[in-house]
């Protein structure tokens, strides 16, 4: 019970975690951690329903993407299945001015930022480089290199402090997403050091989904990941990563700490990747079926549905509507993905320099002539 007042449930890892909604859909009023912080949420019925809608929608869009990959329409896909609550809770806790640094799996956070979900599909379909304007959406590009974005986020956070954008209740804050495997990277440890020393306004949000591709958590750490924060000089909190309310409450509090100039926080969202690492991976080679089954009982969406039903906040009509709307979005996404144009070879030369370069222009012209020399070339 080191981590809360209530009895630690059977679903909690040793040491406990912040949980505000049990797998059975029971609300826990509040949880106070040993450092005296109390976490809770105070949502209206509408807000609860919208969280549910978010969860179902991001899962449905993800399922469509998985199907598209299996149909040969995407080169690869990194599914978020099982991690919806961690992403939606933290994503909805972000304010407009906050900046997010995702990995390649944060489709749920992207959705919660109000971004058109098609944005990353160019990358996975191989028709663009996965580039977009991070400032436009306050959402950095998907970072494939494991953990690299934590350093970018740290630098960004130090920058907004220098710009005087933090230190009050309406200040800016930064959130960096990464996984359990990334905690073994030098980059992430450097980011912790710098953020700690410079009191950077950043929240490190680690989705511990138990596997770094095939490598289990016990190959990453001998202590719970959230406790590592202490060594870098900032607080660490573990949450039930399958509980959207805990994810929201703790992320909101940590972001507020950051925007008020109180420095970084590490949040370990204890969750599970229900699917494969990516569509190129076969998890049955390194996980046993019983483990997957045990996590099914902790499903992040089923518990919200149970809660809404028990509290009579929503009924079958609402759930049916949500499913239907999500399906419609997914089919629309499918159509638009299939209609994405293939890139022209010469676009290779775009975006090299912001204002062009005579040398690159010459190369581009030469490349165009070369391409025109083939039969069937569009002239």
């Amino acid at each position: 019970m080191a981590n809360g007042e209530r009895e630690v449930g059977a679903d909690a890892p040793a040491g406990g975690f912040v949980q505000l909604l049990t797998p059975d859909g029971e609300r826990v009023d509040s949880v106070t951690t040993p450092d005296g912080t109390t976490y809770s949420v105070d949502f209206s019925d509408d807000e609860y329903r919208e969280l549910y809608r978010d969860l179902v929608t991001v899962r449905r869009l993800d399922a469509e993407a998985t199907a598209l990959q299996r149909q040969g329409e995407l080169g690869i896909w990194a599914s978020l299945l099982g991690q919806e609550a961690a992403q939606v809770g933290s994503g909805r806790a972000l304010r407009q001015q906050d900046m997010a640094f995702p990995t390649y799996r944060e489709h749920g956070v992207l959705y919660c930022r109000g971004i058109d979900p098609i944005m990353p599909f160019g990358l996975f379909r191989g028709v663009d480089q996965g580039g977009w304007d991070p400032n436009e959406f306050k959402f950095n590009t998907y970072t494939i290199v494991i953990g690299a974005q934590t350093l970018h986020a740290t630098g960004y956070a130090m920058g907004i402090t220098m710009d005087g954008k933090t230190g009050n209740a309406d200040g800016e804050a930064v959130i960096a997403y990464f996984g359990d495997g990334a905690t073994s990277q030098g980059d992430v440890n450097e980011a912790f050091v710098w953020s700690g020393v410079f009191n950077a306004p950043i929240v490190f949000f680690c989705q511990n989904n138990q596997y770094a591709i095939s490598e289990p958590l016990e190959r990453q750490t001998r202590i719970p990941l959230y406790r590592r924060a202490l060594g870098y000089g900032f607080p660490g909190v573990r949450i039930d990563g399958n509980d959207v309310l805990a994810s929201f409450a703790v992320t909101r509090a940590a972001l507020d700490q950051a925007r008020n100039g109180q420095g970084p926080t590490l949040i370990e969202a204890y969750t599970y990747r229900m699917g494969a690492h990516t569509s190129s991976d076969d998890p049955t080679r390194y996980r046993i079926a019983s483990e997957v089954e045990s996590w099914k009982a902790k499903d992040p969406i089923a518990r919200v549905k149970a809660f809404l039903t028990k509290q009579q906040i929503a009924g079958d009509d609402f759930f049916g509507d949500v499913d239907e709307a999500a399906k419609k979005l997914a089919l629309d996404l499918r159509e638009r993905v299939l209609a994405m144009p293939d890139p022209q070879p010469v676009t290779l030369f775009d975006n090299v320099y912001p204002h062009g370069s005579p040398e690159v222009e010459a190369q581009k012209a030469e490349f165009e002539r070369y391409h025109a020399s083939f039969e069937g070339s569009a002239s």
């Binding site: 469509e64 990959q69 080169g75 690869i76 190129s280 076969d282 046993i288 039969e375 070339s377």
Partner: protein, 464 residues
């Protein structure tokens, strides 16, 4: 566009070239929905279900289950507008003009992380090594004159003198053979003598292709038997379980130094105990066989000698001793040999163990053993007795350090209480990894299994 759409096998996992159709979940005439699972396909990376790309009616299935299909080949045709009446005659558009995507980036299939055929290492993520060149459109007859900035036609600068020496027909000589280290390893693995090859690579070096060609040739004339009558030879493609078994056996036989010991024991009492167990009401529903008590003997003997239940972890320089036994049972199935295991078998009661073994064997015979059931075995039994043979010298499943062969139980003249009697006798064969298990430990382990089977009651009483 035609209303009949043909779905071609996609590359399901970054750089795969083929997949085996495991089973069809639909048949011709079925009405299907978008994203409904239609077929299960196994690639070198995983067995996956493919969801339908279009809603409609299945009009043709191109390949039956069990066929290996190239990426890009059509596998199913779907009428996407079945309400529109009868189909027109099959036209060139719907049949002949099937565009089969060129297979790019062919990668030898293989197990993730394990050696793939050809000596390459299989990859878990990312593209595998590419060993075909891309296809491209032909050039126009007269390309536009290159501008001044264009590079001149490439002519290798005469820098390296070695490159200009005659290389292609380099006769075998005492000079050192040029070959990259992975090629040398491949040659060693395939038993190809590098000095006997004429390299075709840069500077006359021997390439991977040279080695593979040499290995594929049916051996130089004279030394080896020639093909006697090709008409009466059958060639069976090596794939699926056969391929996996071959890879596992080669990997195990040439990494773990195997030692096999034998013990012939009088199992009359075990057979009697078995009859008594069968008569007990709680065992009425389950099949009880001698294998059950052999398994029990192994599990109890492991408790007395935990080191036999371990793995040689060369990568970390450790021996991993396991306090749990995932007991593998070699099973002959229609698809070949598989070794599924009973997880944490040491914790099971005899009744639970009997049930687990029955389920394991039944599932294996039905061909539905999931990969998880085959992973993580720690120690195995192969019941060769069911084929009527006395015993064998089994090869260790990779990662395991001991495997017991259980021979047939036969009435045999045997010295029993100083008289020659007819007793039920069997021969046990235990193979073990000599890197971990010395002769003493292996012998004690085998002896204990024998003791249990000779007198199960007293072994149980004195050991547990």
């Amino acid at each position: 566009m035609s209303r009949i759409k043909e779905f071609t096998l996609p590359d399901l996992g970054e750089g795969l070239t083929e997949g085996e159709i495991l089973s069809w979940l639909v048949k011709v005439g079925d009405t299907i929905e978008l994203n409904q699972p239609i077929v299960e396909v196994e690639t070198a990376k995983a067995a996956v279900e493919i969801p339908a790309k279009w809603a409609g009616v299945v009009t043709k299935i191109f390949h039956e289950a069990g066929t290996t299909v190239e990426v890009g080949a059509p596998i199913v045709a779907i009428d996407t507008n079945p309400g529109a009446g009868d189909l027109p005659e099959p036209s060139a558009e719907s049949l002949a003009a099937v565009e089969v995507a060129p297979v790019e980036g062919a990668v030898e299939p293989g197990l993730i992380g394990g050696p793939a055929p050809g000596g390459r290492t299989a990859v878990l993520v990312g593209y595998g090594p590419r060993n075909t060149s891309a296809k491209r459109r032909p050039r126009l007859g007269t390309p536009p004159a290159p501008p001044a900035a264009a590079p001149p036609p490439t002519a290798p600068a005469p820098v390296a003198t070695a490159a200009s020496e005659p290389v292609a027909a380099a006769a075998p000589s005492s000079a050192p053979v040029l070959a990259k280290p992975p090629v040398r390893k491949l040659a060693r693995d395939l038993g190809v003598d590098l000095t006997s090859l004429a390299g075709t690579g840069p500077m006359g070096s021997v390439t991977r292709d040279d080695v593979q060609q040499a290995a594929a040739q049916p051996v130089a004339a004279g030394a080896a038997p020639e093909v006697f009558d090709a008409g009466r030879e059958r060639r069976i493609p090596v794939k699926g379980v056969r391929k996996l078994t071959a890879e596992n056996m080669v990997a195990s036989a040439f990494t773990a130094p195997h030692v096999t010991e034998f013990l012939t024991v009088d199992v009359t009492r075990t057979m009697k105990a078995l009859e008594k167990i069968k008569a007990r009401p709680e065992f009425r529903e389950v099949r009880v066989s001698p294998l059950l008590l052999v398994a029990k003997a192994v599990l109890l003997a492991v408790k007395r000698h935990p080191m036999v239940n371990s793995t040689w972890s060369g990568g970390t320089g450790e021996i991993v001793v396991k306090d749990y036994v995932n007991l593998g049972i070699a099973a002959a199935t229609e698809r070949g040999l598989i070794v599924p295991n009973v997880k944490d078998a040491g914790r099971l009661t005899l009744r639970e163990l009997a049930e687990a073994l029955n389920t394991l064997v039944q599932v294996a015979r039905s061909g539905k053993t999931p990969p998880a059931d085959m992973a993580g075995g720690t120690l195995s039994i192969t019941n060769v007795g069911v084929f009527g043979v006395d015993t064998g010298t089994p090869i260790l499943p990779p990662g395991e350090s001991a495997i017991l062969a259980f021979g047939s139980v036969k009435p045999t003249p045997w010295v029993h209480k100083d008289k020659i009697k007819i007793r039920q006798v069997t021969t046990l064969g235990l193979s073990f990894d000599h890197r971990i298990i010395d002769g003493e430990l292996g012998s004690k382990f085998l002896r204990d299994i024998g003791e249990f089977l000779t007198d199960p009651e007293s072994a149980l009483l004195s050991w547990t």
